[in-house]
Amino acid sequence: MAEPLHIALGLTDEEFAMIRSVLQRDPNDLELAMYSVMWSEHCSYKSSRVHLRRLPTEGPSVIMGPGENAGVIDVGDGFALAIRMESHNHPSAIEPYQGAATGVGGILRDIFTVGARPVALLDSLWMGPQNDPKSRWIFKGVVSGISGYGNAVGVPTVGGETHFEEKFGYNPLVNVAAIGIAPKEHLIKAAATGAGNLVVLLGAPTGRDGIGGVSILASTGFGGESDSSKRPSVQVGDPFEEKKLIELCLDLLRSDLLVGIQDLGGAGLSCATSETAAKGGSSMDIYLDKVPRRESCMEPFEVMISESQERMLAIVHPSNLDKVLALAEHWEVQASVVGEVKDPERWLDGKVRGILRVYDHRDGELLAEVPAGSLADEAPLYDRERREPEGWKRKLQDAPSVDSVTEDVLNDLLKTTFDPSTVYRQYDHQLFLNTIVGPGEDAALLRIGAPGVGRVERSFGVSVDGNPRWCVVHPRRGAAATVVESVMNIACVGAKAVALVDCLNFGNPTHPEVMWQLSESIDGVAEACEALGVAVVGGNVSLYNEANGVDIDPTPTVTTVGLSNIPSLPVPSLARSSVGSSLYLIGESCETLSGSAFAFDFLNSDGGNLFTFDYDKVTRLRDTAIELFEHADAYGVETLHNVSSGGVLDAVREISASSRVGCVL
């Protein structure tokens, strides 16, 4: 007996039973397809949400936090800064160029969907060793995808990091962060409110992109013969369409023509319709025949879960429809009314709630009828079993020591292997004339300003950071150290951290050790954020990063942002150290080598216990760095550099290389 359809679609028997109790009948194939994507790990965070609640999300400057499409903070003078981070790990392993490109496209849509003009991109790349041809192919494709999409869509890529390690050869990580600037009055929520308002689909026509596993419905479902055209295809990004979409959406917001707007990402229309309806507490009717298509004879489930890129769902009052269609025509973007917002109704359980109904055409056959909230917000949450790995406590005692090192390793240590400028030289990092400190430094520093928004005489620092080695040794302390690292990086460009977004890249959540790593890491981020007054305003969780049963190392990455003044010239930089200047080490060094690059690369040891922090000292060090950067001229500071992985030696080597000077320690 073939396995039941819901199992094939990734839903457990219990989840199928929950769906049946909500619908009080068996779901049909279209409803099952929608539930399978909406209740997937990717969309529902069902294995991580119980732990994410422990992250501090409040803060004096926070306007929007987790749950919205982007985190938003107040930067003064009527301006707001939106920030979001996403992972595109699995697609990038399959098709590196398009995987990375669509990752950029998706993260940008999260920014302009809240009403902000995207002004900066950062990327955090974790690749396999470059002597392996496949890892080389993936790395080359990912960088050209980010460059190809980011440059063409017209958003500067101002910073990032690239790391190469054995385990990432099987499962590369591609995390992309984006930042936008908006006048506060342009901020908008993704809620469908107001019965009678129209649901307007903007952007590219719909194809069979990214239907993935659910495509089995094509062969078993509607009796259609599965010829090659039915095969699910990789999502392909179109930066030209996205650029037109950005200009249209920001124009619609400036002209105050929208009630709500949401981007189409994972789960496509199913997600955008159910989330906006649920958020607005409204019912919504969708007419599939009105959805512009790129392929012929697409089945209803394909249209509802397709992940074709560069599409937005807007909620428009009927009186504004003509103006919206006129602006869409001006910006040469397709716009079609695909549905209508309706009042909430009493569902079978007696509760009044928003119902999502999908018809083949207006007044036509009802294809699906589901409470919107059930799809969008009521996936079951799991507190999966957590277990500390076998012998972990014993490993903490097994500190790496230098006694075993006999020969002179200094030359090996000084061997530079990778020059990041070969990557960021492919990214436009100058556009919009905001970049004061660009890629290649500890962090990026940008003026606050954007086209069509205006400019403020202040700036913000931003950095993306991660270090799985710290988390392999001790997930909690490693995650805390990652936050401290990011806070110190932006302090080196004079910015005091106020908010961050995270990207939690972990293995298979059904492995108890992975759930333990995730829970511990979240507590580590929470600890450091609370101690340093940083609010977590959004995040992304990427699980099932594994290959042939081997989970990746725990890799929480964070993008931290802080505010700063416009520095006076000359601005400190790694490239400005001059002969005759002296080097000062500020702050205390810790004794242990545990978790260090030296321990992993030379001693082959991931043992010992990781360093911890006295957060008062961290705060004082942060403020000292900010003071030194802002008054660099007065203090005679040419370079201010954060010591991190690779220790003092790497820090000095980077200065020496950038400034083309020798250094005597």
Partner: protein
């Protein structure tokens, strides 16, 4: 003096706002020109900024040349007023046959965003008339197809007629003759790959671009 500078915008252009900010910085009135507009006669000079018109699909500028605005730009140029094409703008001008040659993929087959040194190769152009011959300029470049090429006889004519305006000091992309900017026979249409609007202040790395735009605008009697 209320004659404005026109800044052309195709779908996919993205440097228009930076050019506008530079013009505001120089105190010059401006107007954004959507690619479907055809009336440019009220303008003193036209700038086609950088970006990815039509996504650079097919070839950079290959589709933009058919936009209605390009007929207007062509007749605007025949009236003797200045036209400056920056990066994508230079590519559009070559596709529209307003300038000789073509911009091919960079020799290293990868996108380059950097600040490079250029030198003034001729003072006889709207953008270099107030600079010194051989003057060194630090200018940002940001392109994948900046490798200028042209037929042998075109190159010879460019040299003989002193129409190579800027050269790269250290050729980043394989351009023939290290060419970074040229002008047409009537010396009122200029195409340049470097971005002067991105070099308006030392805070952002260089202010060499200020001299180029100021020179263009003085030449157009816009700067009072």
């Amino acid at each position: 003096m209320d004659k404005a500078v026109g800044v052309v915008v195709f779908p996919g252009t993205n440097c228009e706002h930076d050019v506008v900010e530079a013009l505001v910085d120089l105190g010059v009135p401006h107007r954004l020109i959507w690619h479907r507009e055809t009336d440019l006669m009220d303008l003193e000079c036209v700038i086609i900024p950088g970006g990815f018109a039509h996504g650079d699909y097919l070839r950079p500028g290959a589709i933009a040349k058919f936009s209605p605005v390009m007929k207007a730009v062509s007749s605007f140029a025949t009236s003797g007023r200045s036209v400056l094409g920056i990066c994508n703008g230079f590519q559009v001008l070559t596709e529209a046959k307003l300038l000789e040659g073509a911009l091919q993929k960079n020799a290293g087959l990868s996108f380059i965003c950097d600040v490079v040194e250029c030198e003034v190769a001729s003072r006889n152009s709207p953008v270099t008339s107030s600079l010194e011959l051989g003057e060194k300029l630090r200018l940002p470049i940001n392109h994948f197809e900046g490798n200028y090429t042209c037929a042998e006889d075109d190159l010879k004519r460019l040299l003989d007629e002193d129409r190579i305006i800027l050269r790269y000091v250290d050729n980043p992309n394989g351009s023939i003759g290290d060419i970074a900017a040229i002008c047409n026979k009537d010396r009122n249409i200029v195409g340049m790959m470097p971005h002067p609007e991105r070099a308006m202040s030392d805070l952002l790395g260089s202010s060499s671009g200020r001299k180029i735009l100021a020179s263009l605008l003085e030449r157009s009697a816009v700067l009072s």
